[in-house]
């Protein structure tokens, strides 16, 4: 029954998003890359990423659209597969660190200045003070090179920013009268957090999640470049690592393919996130 107005509001937000040209181009970019990732996961694209299908360093041709690498592998196939890798890392890290950060931030903010808040802030302080790449290496070492070490390192360190933002927001929201009003109608504390406090942080969470998504893809590329990231499969970071030798020899295939893909995806995502932020803010939009 309450679905009707909600749907109305969602369609209003969609109307606002549609009128934002940059936001729509971002949406198209993200949609295309998502489609590629889905096709790779379902086995339709990029399956020949490890096949040696040509000679070393072939140029652009109709069989190898982006050319081949040092081993004669098709760069297009590897770029497509790298898209799926980027999305996998981005989605897992974003989902886990956002949930963790939201819960921690909400608890710290709701019970601010209690021992729980102190403990969460202390943990956040400790994690924030460790240099990230050192930490990622330590996690990889501790987990004996598990393929999940990179994900774990990112989740453990990325939630703190989300938690800090949500904590401040919850502390601000809980002072507001509608929280007192929801106490006055007999709601228990936890219900108030999840039904009235967190929904009011949604637009911030969405933007923060998109920032984390972009950061996770970026970090995956850097960690893979350093050899701390993807082990089974290929990623844009591994391609960039390969290219560091190839560029010296004058072959830019890997470098251009991986670098451009990364740039376009992150750019599209940032444009979309920006437009979503404007479209979802009901107060600003209606004035």
């Amino acid at each position: 029954m309450t679905q009707v107005p909600m749907r109305q509001e969602t369609s209003q937000a969609w109307q606002r998003l549609k009128s934002d040209r940059y936001g729509m181009s971002g949406l198209v970019v993200v949609a295309i890359f998502s489609l590629i990732a889905l096709c790779v996961w379902s086995g339709l694209l990029g399956q020949g990423w490890s096949d040696v299908s040509g000679n070393r360093w072939e140029g652009v041709s109709s069989t190898h659209w982006f050319g081949t690498n040092l081993l004669g592998q098709d760069i297009l196939q590897r770029t497509l597969f790298g898209t799926a890798t980027a999305f996998e890392v981005g989605l897992i890290v974003t989902l886990a660190s956002t949930i963790l950060g939201t819960v921690m931030g909400a608890l710290a903010g709701w019970y601010s200045h209690s021992w729980l808040d102190e403990a969460i802030l202390w943990l956040k302080g400790v994690l924030d003070s460790i240099p990230f790449y050192l930490f990622a290496a330590a996690v990889a070492f501790a987990l004996r090179g598990s393929p999940w070490a990179m994900h774990l390192a990112m989740i453990i360190t990325f939630w703190t920013t989300t938690a800090r933002i949500i904590r401040g927001e919850v502390m601000r929201i809980k002072q507001r009268e509608f929280i007192e009003a929801s106490r006055a109608i007999g709601l228990p504390g936890l219900t108030i957090i999840f039904r009235h406090v967190l929904p009011n942080t949604f637009h911030i969470l969405l933007v923060q999640a998109s920032i984390v998504f972009v950061a996770a893809i970026n970090t995956e590329v850097i960690l893979s470049f350093l050899g701390l990231g993807i082990q089974d499969g290929v990623s844009w970071g591994l391609m960039l690592a390969e290219s560091s030798q190839e560029v010296l020899a004058g072959h830019f295939g890997n470098f251009i393919a991986a670098g451009t893909s990364l740039f376009i995806l992150l750019m599209g995502f940032n444009l979309l996130a920006d437009a979503l932020q404007d479209a979802l803010d009901t107060r600003r939009a209606t004035g």
Binding site: M1, T2, E9, A181, A184, G186, P188, P199, N200, R283
Partner: protein, 321 residues
Amino acid sequence: MSSPALGVKDLSVWLESKSGRKQLVDSISFSINPAEATGLVGESGCGKTMTALAILGLLPAGVKVESAAIEVNGRDISRLNATQRRAVLGRDIAMIFQQPGTALDPVFTLGHQISSVYRRHTGGGNAHIRQTMLDSLESVGFSQPEEIAAAYPHQLSGGMRQLSMIAMATVCKPAVIIADEPTTALDGSTRALILQQLGQLQAQHRTAILLVSHDLAVIRQSCRKVMVMYCGRLLESTDCQSLFSHARHPYSAGLLACIPQIGSDRPPAISAIPGQVPAATNLPPGCHFAPRCTRSEQQCRQSVPGLNSEESKGVACFRPL
């Protein structure tokens, strides 16, 4: 005489901090009968809102409430545990807040918010809940409740929000409504509309209303009885008419004198009560009003005058007017 809808006995509120205890409300007692509106009036910072929140048990941490009893329909709610209290809040006793703009959750429609109150306390099928919600909106005077139900708080004017708040407070047909400055943030004509709707609901559902306000005009418009509060104590409790015709406590008389008189041939002097409300840390002994009172004498500064609250009219003063 029927049993009161709201009976408060010896309610005290203390603020406990490292620097000591401050008494914010000093053992006040009163009762409100069904279908009766009682005003609680006083200057800012005299404990009106504290009293309202203490009745609901919604005071912030560090504030302690002591009371003999807070009875709603004959049931003492001051001894309930948290779960039992939550079942009472919103169902038997509801509150209307001062700022209708901020007392509503901005991300949900009014229909959603009102029906979730009803669903929580009464339950029933979705169609039934929706119908109750629309009826509730209609009963506060909205001719097209569907439109209001589909609206977000920011899409409505202040008066419409406050009417929606009243609809939310009355959706479970509570025995008692506490309205904390319900019209302070609104303009004059909206204020009249809100008070009129409150009065109608009160007659319709036999609701007891405690109207907290610093505005005597509001109290006069809508209440039959009135209590005057100062520094956490009730100084005078009487019916509205006698207060306006013959206030007995010097403080009540001072408050009345502060109302500007338009068109009267008296000199255009708005008299203010001299001095300021003392801080709760630094209350004078004896009658708290004595230092500001023109009629005070030795006795007023030494001992506290009592208010006989058992009678319908009482005044806590040694030298009443």
